[in-house]
């Protein structure tokens, strides 16, 4: 049972470290899906910049938390 639980946690842990960050990524993808169908390739640029931006934001936020 313990083994199954740690296997389950490991599988979830592959994709989710910070639940808020994962939720933001999914929201960005959801918004991107809507935008791509209306704006086409131009929406891809915004999608990629938002995804790259959240990487910078959350890495910096975690660094600030760990330095406190």
């Amino acid at each position: 049972m313990k083994f199954l639980r740690s296997a389950g946690e490991a599988v979830v842990g592959l994709f989710v470290g910070d639940w808020v960050q994962s939720a933001i990524v999914l929201v960005i993808l959801g918004a991107g899906w809507l935008a791509v169908s209306r704006l086409g390739a131009a929406a891809l640029v915004v999608l990629v910049l938002l995804l790259a931006g959240q990487l910078v934001w959350f890495a910096r936020a975690e660094a600030q938390r760990s330095k406190r």
Partner: protein, 240 residues
């Protein structure tokens, strides 16, 4: 050709990192408690992983439409790659300690106390758990990287070759592969997986990338630049 090489490279590098971590656990158990139990645990884990690959491989190929598959796998790959990249940024900035196979090896050895009499369930379960959990990441990388765009054979070859190379190196040196530049590899693979994930997720949404597969290079440049920017911002003295 270019696509096949990229898929092979991503699967090989990602699998090599995870195989190195699994090898460290098996070596620690084998050299302190004897080889029979950890080798049996390793074989059991590999069989379980093979069953997972065959089951999910069939399910993916036969049941899921191409665009849904790209969106699903792309999203998972993006989340997975961002996790690696996030950790790589924090390690590069000195916020989190770099992964050290020698230390991981010593910690595992310290938890064990010499050879066990009779059947060694501790050694068996430790090796099974280590190989299975690290192997799950290998399986995901191989299926996700190769599961779309007809690159599965290249990804499987990359993943298997990485496991064989790491296993042979482990048998030869009989100690943790501390010289594998694991943190650098994870950084590079994190950038590649994040780029592939973005590419496939957007294709699953119905988007067409300019220059098709070549745009993955552009994505990699953007994510690498963003990660370096994050490292610079974290290291700035104003934060300290």
């Amino acid at each position: 050709m270019y696509q096949t090489l990229l898929v092979f490279g991503a699967a090989f590098l990602g699998s090599a990192v995870e195989s190195t971590e699994a090898l460290t656990i098996v070596l620690a158990v084998g050299l302190t408690r004897g080889w029979r139990a950890p080798l049996l645990g390793t074989v059991a884990a590999l069989v379980a992983l093979a069953v997972l690959v065959i089951f999910f491989g069939q399910l993916i190929v036969t049941r899921i439409p191409d665009s849904a598959l790209k969106l699903l796998v792309g999203t998972l790959l993006l989340l997975f790659g961002l996790r690696w990249l996030h950790k790589a940024v924090l390690r590069s900035a000195g916020v989190v300690e770099k992964h050290d196979e020698d230390m991981a090896y010593r910690n595992t050895v310290n938890q064990l106390q010499g050879p066990a009499p009779g059947r060694d369930w501790v050694g068996f379960v430790l090796a099974l758990k280590g190989v299975f959990l690290e192997g799950l990441e290998v399986v995901f990388i191989v299926i996700a990287v190769g599961g779309t765009g007809r690159g599965l054979p290249a990804a499987v070859v990359g993943g298997l070759l990485a496991m064989v190379v790491v296993a042979v190196a482990g048998v030869v040196v009989r100690r943790p592969l501390a010289r594998v530049p694991e943190n650098t590899l994870k950084y590079a693979v994190g950038v590649i997986l994040t780029s592939l994930g973005t590419f496939w997720a957007a294709e699953g949404m119905g988007a067409s990338w300019p220059l098709d597969f070549v745009s993955i290079l552009g994505l990699a440049v953007i994510y690498f630049a963003a990660s370096r920017l994050a490292v610079v911002l974290i290291r700035r003295p104003a934060l300290a």
